[in-house]
Symmetry: C2
Subunit: 430 residues, 2 copies
């Protein structure tokens, strides 16, 4: 099917579905859970083909692990959907209501954004998760998964689409693209697609951002910092820095640059180096760092690097202000932490660091929708508008204004024969 | 001064100001009111130069009227700023708070977006209004006004900048650009400018949207519809349609396309034509319309036209569904109204019409921040993300997540030795 036709169908379905009730969407999610479970052998079989083909093609072990869709993954995604079913309906919430005048009532009402384009990597479970999120929020979705998962994606998309349609959701609400060429054409469809969510490498996300008029929700870099303040508890600092860097190195909220106040550098750097050495972490340090510990020499590009690996940049700074300036200059606005027992310094840090997530005395790795308690996560955004930080289902919502009158004209108010009352109400929508 | 330096200074000032209190911003706004009033003769004098030069250059009468900045305009802008002073501080509001675990508290806190780039036309009062809005919301602003208003803009920008700095706001928070060339360079500064708000012609707004990676808040077209349903009160319909089209034709929320249900077309069209004829409104009608009333023939481009003038497109439709489909196909997502006494039809219309403002039984001209009671208006947006419809000061805000811990690491939760509590709190921020 042609990509434009898929997008147009998705748009049409979304408008049809905007009149559907939360109950229909709930039932659709329930159907999906059942259909996935009932057809699990067929899904596993398709996934096995993908795994076998990809193994033969030499896909790396970590990617093969992500590609695999088995009983455990199925249980996880079904559990995720069940959580969504229990969440309150995000559509049609009255966010604000005002009586403009007698018989003229304004309601600000939450509604879906429209058609969401999602581009993701090898994990087939991501397809299930994001489709369920879009369905719950009343959006249509166009998915492009990795070609290594194409058999799994095909069967999952088909099962999910049909199970929702059986519950009363309009056909075409979910579309699946398969080629890289389709992605490039997708980027041009700003008339039909309202938001793009790319999940992938930095280069890939940047490519999407640079080649489409459609707004993009996401993040390219995750250059996260931890600043060990002069008032830091150095035991705590070691634990938090170790966790931030090493608990999982390949993720966007892992620590990439360690900043240390010069007043504690002499004591702290050798301690943290011991921990890093146990895992063979390569340290790139500034001149002041290299006086204290033995490590590689940092150059001017060091502090813009996102390693996603067993490596870290280290800099000794003279003040809290220098740390903040460094982060605002070299950071990516993702997640930055301070370790300090000084409340004033903590408060200045979280005020002045211009990032979506600013932490005091805890690991950067907490920056995550599930850990934040959102239940479901759309992704992590470093945007400065719409949604920032870990984005839950509310990132898929916008609102419209409904004004319910009884024949009012602006002329009367412009000429002064009538006056606005502008009285807030906590009423039910008419 | 170089545009990049201006933008960098604005960014730096914004970060400095993000630690400033609402009281400082209030005092700054008060200073601005006083400074504008104290220096009014100088302002009027600069404005007179602009008016004289522009008159000599043959600027049209309506634009000259917009260019003029006199006692009345000064009174209006000062009143506007005083309203802003009284509004609650939008910065630092706790939007959500969750205890993730004992001693690990998450706060979602409102904060300014950063640096706002505003490009506006001839009205110098727009400069005052938008600067005050950005100041109140803790943002920096880079302004580019029309060259016809350059003397007025220079003195206003200088007075406003300095009055705020006197109150403790960081220097460079407001920057003024003067040439069209500067605008093109501004569009490239996506590292320093976080949001663009263009106010101007459709072509201009589209140009901005197509030539920058910076997100744009605004609207290009305003192709607003009114649908006279078969269950419409035809007297009300005449009043509302007349007001929507004629109360002020040159604005984005004026009616451009009238849709009439075929069941009432024979009765309604001659009635509304009488009203239109009084103001020499040119009517472009479909074939069915032209059987009933004498008018110009609509062609396939008619329904995509935004006249902003004494002209209207008219189409007879067979059903509510046809009206909705027409609006969703040809509309611009701005403002669309139905006239009906049938509640079910009203409800379907506001659900299925995919526009920022959907009205029942009132004029499209109500679609406006002041009429909605926002106090101050950033502009009207047809975006599907961040802010939609008339945008008040909240359109200049985003949020950050502050996570205040006591040494927590993710490892403990990943390994199951600790468990998240995810308990919502209504507490004060630490």
């Amino acid at each position: 099917m042609d990509i434009e036709k898929i997008a147009l169908a998705a748009k049409k379905a979304q408008i049809n579905n905007s009149g559907s009730s939360g109950e229909v969407r709930k039932r659709a999610l329930g159907n999906i859970c059942r259909a996935l479970t009932q057809n699990k052998e067929e899904i596993f079989c398709a996934n096995l083909k993908d795994v076998q083909r990809s193994t033969a093609e030499g896909l790396s072990a970590p990617l093969l692990k992500r590609l695999k869709f088995d009983e455990a993954k199925l249980r996880d995604v079904v559990f995720g959907i069940e959580t969504l079913i229990d969440m309150p309906d995000p559509v049609g919430k009255i966010l604000d209501a005002t009586v403009l005048d007698d018989g003229l009532e304004l309601y600000k009402v939450s509604c879906p954004i429209g058609v969401i384009g999602v581009i993701f990597e090898s994990r087939p479970d991501a397809l299930v998760q994001i489709s369920a999120l879009c369905l719950k929020s009343g959006n249509s979705v166009i998915l492009k998964g990795g070609s290594e998962a194409r058999e799994s994606n095909r069967i999952l998309a088909s099962i999910i689409h049909d199970a929702a349609v059986d519950a009363g959701i309009s056909e075409g609400w979910l579309g699946l693209l398969e080629s890289r060429q389709d992605v490039d054409r997708m980027l041009m469809l700003d008339d039909h697609i309202d938001l793009l969510i790319p999940r992938g490498s930095n280069e890939f996300v940047r490519y999407i951002m640079d080649n489409s008029r459609i707004p993009v929700l996401g993040h390219a870099d995750g250059i996260c910092h931890c600043f060990v303040d002069e008032y830091a508890d150095l035991d705590m600092a070691q634990d938090v820095v170790e966790d931030s860097k090493l608990q999982y190195t390949a993720v966007c909220n892992a620590l990439e640059t360690l900043l240390v106040h010069e007043a504690v550098a002499k004591e702290f750097l050798p301690l943290i180096k011991k921990r890093f050495d146990k895992k063979d972490v390569v340290i790139y340090g500034c001149d002041k760092t290299r006086i204290i510990i033995d490590c590689e020499k940092a150059d001017e590009n060091t502090y813009r690097r996102e390693y996603l690996d067993y490596a870290i940049s280290v800099k000794v700074v003279g003040s809290l202000k220098e740390a903040i300036d460094h982060i605002n200059t070299y950071g990516s606005g993702h997640t930055d932490a301070i370790i300090t027992d000084n409340k004033k310094n903590a408060s200045e840090f979280v005020s002045y660091v211009d990032s979506g997530n600013v932490f005091v005395n805890c690991s950067t790795r907490f920056s995550d929708g599930f850990r934040y308690g959102f239940g479901a996560e759309v992704g992590i955004s470093t945007n400065k508008i719409h949604a920032r930080g870990p984005v839950g289902i509310e990132g898929l919502m916008i609102y419209k204004y409904k004004l319910i009158g009884s024949g009012q004209t602006v002329k009367d108010y412009a000429e002064g024969t009538k006056k606005f009352k502008h009285k807030k109400i906590n009423g039910e929508e008419k």
